[in-house]
């Protein structure tokens, strides 16, 4: 037990300063010929911080483009130090970053930034989601008209919805590429649908009532209940168009049978 405790000390001691620049290298850490270890330990500290900031930059390229590299890296550095990853899978990292952006003092004049980040995080989840076929249009056609109202769907693993009171989809689309950025004069709320219908992730803007409709269906509601909820939220809800969009985007993988 004593040996076990002593054994653990090197990692605990070495880890302490990796995300806290105020903590110096542990005593047991040395260099040949009595050389100093400040810069040497800093190599590890730097590797940790820079590689995790890089990971956030890879996950949130549109945010970095909007804020500029310097702003982004300063913001990301705060987040990395406060919330380092728990999982060794870096593509799982940064789930708390949108909420961090929301509370980040220097980003308050960009209230739409957090939702744009949420779309980027959803994009990466869709990218790594399991491979399953998208529900074919014929599958709907094959359902008896009398049972159509009660039908439920099995979500495709890539499907995500991000609702925003800001034009987050337009902001995402404009900044996710290297193309030119033009002034955006919209203050409309936008709901994003993120899917991977074939090989590539697709982000599209949902029409009025579309988010409520799909969220209900994704949560297992029957078609008739989801339609009712959509109409309640948006009297202009267009069922035909939303069904067609749902099929082509690949939101679902199958019709749920049974239960």
């Amino acid at each position: 037990m004593r040996s076990e405790n002593r054994l653990c000390e090197y990692a605990a001691a070495f880890a302490a300063g990796l995300t806290d620049p105020a903590i110096v290298a542990p005593e047991d850490v040395v260099a040949t010929s009595g050389k100093g270890v400040v810069k040497r330990y800093n190599v590890y500290r730097n590797n940790v911080t820079v590689s995790l900031i890089d990971a956030l930059a890879d996950i949130y390229p549109a945010i970095q483009r909007i804020t500029g590299v310097e702003f982004f890296r300063a913001m990301a550095r705060f987040h990395v130090r406060a919330t380092p990853p728990a999982s060794p899978l870096l593509f799982e990292y940064g789930r708390d970053f949108p909420a961090f952006i929301e509370s980040y003092e220097y980003a308050r004049d960009m209230p739409w930034l957090a939702d744009t980040a949420r779309i980027e995080r959803a994009w990466l989840d869709a990218y790594h989601a399991a491979d399953l076929p998208a529900l074919a249009a014929e599958a709907l056609g094959g359902i008896e008209p009398t049972s159509l109202a009660g039908v439920r769907f099995k979500p495709h693993p890539a499907a995500r919805i991000v609702r925003s009171p800001y034009p987050a989809v337009a902001i995402f689309a404009m900044n996710r590429t290297d193309g030119p950025v033009s002034p955006l004069c919209s203050s409309e709320p936008e709901d994003a649908l993120v899917t991977r219908p074939e090989q590539d992730v697709v982000v599209s803007r949902l029409p009025a009532g579309g988010a409520t409709f799909l969220i209900d269906l994704l949560e297992g509601a029957s078609l008739s209940d989801a339609v009712a909820a959509a109409f309640q939220e948006a009297p202009s809800f267009d069922l035909q168009a939303n069904l067609a969009g749902m099929i082509s985007a690949g939101v679902f993988t199958a019709v749920q049978h049974g239960d």
Binding site: S3, E4, R6, L7, C8, Y10, A11, A12, F14, A15, L18, T19, A25, E27, D28, V29, V30, A31, T32, S33, K35, G36, V37, V38, K39, R40, Y41, V43, Y44, N47, V48, S51, L52, A55, P84, P85, A86, S87, P88, L89, L90, F91, A126, Y127, H128, A129, A130, D131, L132, P157, A158, R196, Q199, D200
Partner: protein
């Protein structure tokens, strides 16, 4: 449990610790998705590709599609970077299961991990961190290597690290430590020649002397990479294992020396950032292959100077 009394059903002693018998002379590179179409258009003969296991631990999507396309034409090396084999804590069982799944899915020719740690106390640091070399850490590392080998039902290759600091509490040399791990667990070793060069500079020892003490008979794969330069507290040269440029002449020379002593081994050009176009990477792999062809049989005392 004493590591020294533990037997392993895998990793039979006395044979080259390599997955496939015809893999010895292969020269390969890190696989980056940016290069996929160039690689598929321009076949690398006798090549192989290495990927970080963690990048393929997602459920599906484009990464697996790209890797499956490469796997159709080439042997693969699955290189784990996050198992934390050198850490004092228990291995992450979930991560170990994911690692096993990647190995089962891609049936790689080579599987490797690091003598280092990267997670502690619930935090993942995303770096290969150093450990003291003691009887206690040896026992722990052997236990971890055994667990990995039991999970994937085959031996792994354990890579020597590049380090920037040492530990006052160390009681063994790195080469003795690696030899003991190989002896006790049946694992092979991944000799990173650039790491040897970087550590030798950083700790003021001779790279050749390190290699003289290295259990070369256990080497199942060789890594080559580029390093960058910084300064230590005394404003003296500190080398960083950066994987972001071409291999230095000094590292090629050490490599030639190793190959002339042990013959060809699957050799990988590691290049992870500041990526060049595919032909540049390919040319580095072909240089390694040429060296293996020219020096792969014992040619003691006959080092040429043409690289």
């Amino acid at each position: 449990m004493e590591y020294s009394t533990r037997t392993t059903a895998i990793g039979e002693r006395g044979r080259p610790p390599v997955g496939t018998p015809d893999a010895q002379g292969l020269a390969g590179t890190s696989f980056k998705h940016e290069h996929l179409s160039a690689i598929l258009a321009d076949r690398l003969k006798d090549g192989f590709f290495e990927v970080h296991a963690e990048n393929y631990m997602g459920a599906g999507g484009p990464p697996h599609r790209a890797l499956a396309a490469i796997r159709e034409g080439y042997p693969l090396s699955i290189h784990g970077v996050c198992m934390s084999i050198g850490g004092p804590g228990a291995l992450d069982a979930t991560h170990l299961a994911r690692f096993r799944d990647v190995v089962v899915r891609y049936e790689p020719a080579l599987v490797s991990e690091h003598l280092a740690w990267s997670s502690h106390g619930g935090t993942f640091f995303n770096d290969l961190l150093p450990l003291p070399y003691t009887k206690e850490t040896l026992e722990k590392v052997c236990d971890h290597v055994n667990q990995v080998q039991e999970a994937i039902k085959r031996p792994i290759l354990l890579e020597n690290p590049s380090t920037y600091v040492a530990f006052a509490s160390s009681t063994m040399s790195e080469t003795d430590f690696l030899r003991a791990v190989a002896q006790h667990t049946g694992c092979g070793l991944l000799l990173d020649v650039n790491n040897v060069f970087v550590s030798a500079n950083n700790h003021g020892f001779s790279a050749s002397a390190y290699l003289a003490g290295f259990p070369l008979e256990e080497v199942g794969e060789i890594h080559l990479a580029g390093y960058s330069e910084q300064e230590d507290d005394e404003n003296e040269l500190l080398l960083i294992d950066s994987h972001d440029r071409a291999i230095s002449d000094s590292v090629w020379t050490l490599y030639r020396d190793v190959v002339s002593r042990i013959g060809p081994r699957p050799t990988l050009i590691e290049w992870d950032s500041n990526l060049p176009d595919w032909p540049v990477l390919r040319a580095q792999a072909l240089t390694a292959r040429r060296i293996m062809a020219q020096h792969g049989i014992s040619l003691a005392g006959e080092l040429s100077h043409e690289v």
